[in-house]
């Protein structure tokens, strides 16, 4: 009998704060820094650091603009980010299915 394919959770998304950020952005076309702050409950420093990691990984696109002399930062998931998140969710479903003994795959 063939071995089931190993489950590999993307380490970029798998961290708790980044998972929350990607989950929020998956519900939006784009969202500002403050919107993500309010919905995730993360601190400003935490959000900045983890968003930077997601941007570096190419999953999130960051746009900064000056509006009324205020800096407005917008984030959106890239196509690669959406694909990676969809894959992560699929791997997670496999993981929990395996735990429940429903199916090895």
């Amino acid at each position: 009998m063939s071995e089931p394919e190993p489950i590999a959770l993307d380490p970029v998304i798998h961290e708790a704060a980044r998972l929350a950020i990607v989950s929020v952005l998956s519900e939006c076309g784009s969202a500002s820094f403050t919107f993500i702050l309010g919905t995730t409950g993360l601190t400003r420093g935490n959000l900045s650091a983890h968003a930077a990691k997601l941007v570096a990984a190419g999953y999130v696109e960051e746009t900064k603009q000056i509006v009324d002399r205020k800096l407005l930062t917008e984030y959106r998931l890239t196509a690669a980010g959406r694909k990676a998140f969809a894959h992560y969710r699929e791997q997670w479903t496999r993981l929990t299915s395996r735990r429940n003994g429903r199916s090895p795959n």
């Binding site: 929350a20 919107f35 309010g38 009324d68």
Partner: protein
């Protein structure tokens, strides 16, 4: 069959906690995204109520002689209200550091940057609407009053169903009010020959305004709490 000697990859409590927090965050984002479009959603509901109200006014005995003017006045007030509210919304969005767009609005924003591509789509939709109008003009001449009323009822029923689905998806009581108002605004059409209950249409329009303001206030209160952390009611607003 799993090998009993191989330890299964179980999610750890921390992983499950992170997953639940991510699910909560996504739910909050979905709700607040919809609340940010309160005026837009309310305008759609109001537009449907206005259509029903105009139909009721045009068929009401008390409005005999003045029905066309009253219908025009209702439409005029609606479009002025639409213009003023959208201008306010645009100003609010420009001044507000808290911003969210859903994927359709992002696509519309991108399409607006390439207006030439929208022209064929606009032409096709105009042609479809013209064909539908001609089709209905022909059909109405050959349909009974009951059949016309039944066909007119389909629109409000579908619209009410849309808002009920929104209520189930986002848990805003305002969506149930919108659904109820759309039905309420159309109900006088069933009684127009027998008794005058046309006031129900105007009541429906008033209630729609109340629900729209309430929905938009959720967003305003929540965003104010993010800008000013001392306003704790915003957190409650998110979970209301």
């Amino acid at each position: 069959m799993l090998d009993a000697t191989t330890p299964p990859d179980l999610p750890t409590p921390d992983q499950m906690r992170a997953l639940n927090q991510a699910i909560d965050a996504a739910w909050n984002a979905r709700r607040m995204r919809e609340a940010s479009r309160g005026i837009l959603i309310g305008s759609i509901a109001m537009g449907l109520c206005v259509i029903s109200t105009v139909l009721v006014v045009m068929h009401s005995q008390w409005a005999e002689g003045i029905a066309p003017f009253l219908a025009c006045a209702i439409l005029f007030v609606y479009f002025v209200g639409l213009f003023v509210s959208f201008r306010w919304l645009r100003r609010q969005r420009g001044a507000n550091p808290v911003m969210v767009l859903d994927r359709q609005e992002e696509q519309i924003r991108a399409a607006a940057a390439r207006p030439m591509r929208a022209i064929p789509i606009l032409l096709i939709s105009l042609l479809v609407q013209a064909a539908a109008s001609i089709g209905w003009m022909y059909a109405f001449r050959h349909m009974s009053n009951e059949a016309i009323l039944a066909s007119l009822s389909v629109g409000p029923l579908l619209a009410a169903a849309f808002f009920v689905v929104r209520f189930v998806s986002f848990r805003f009581w305002e969506d149930l009010v919108f659904a109820g108002c759309i039905i309420l605004a159309f109900i006088p059409m069933f009684f127009v020959r027998r008794t005058d209950v046309s006031f129900l249409s105007f009541v429906a329009m008033g209630l729609t305004v109340v629900a729209t303001v309430s929905l938009q206030r959720r967003w305003t209160t929540w965003t104010q709490s993010l800008v000013d952390p001392e306003i704790e009611t915003g957190i409650m607003e998110m979970h209301r």
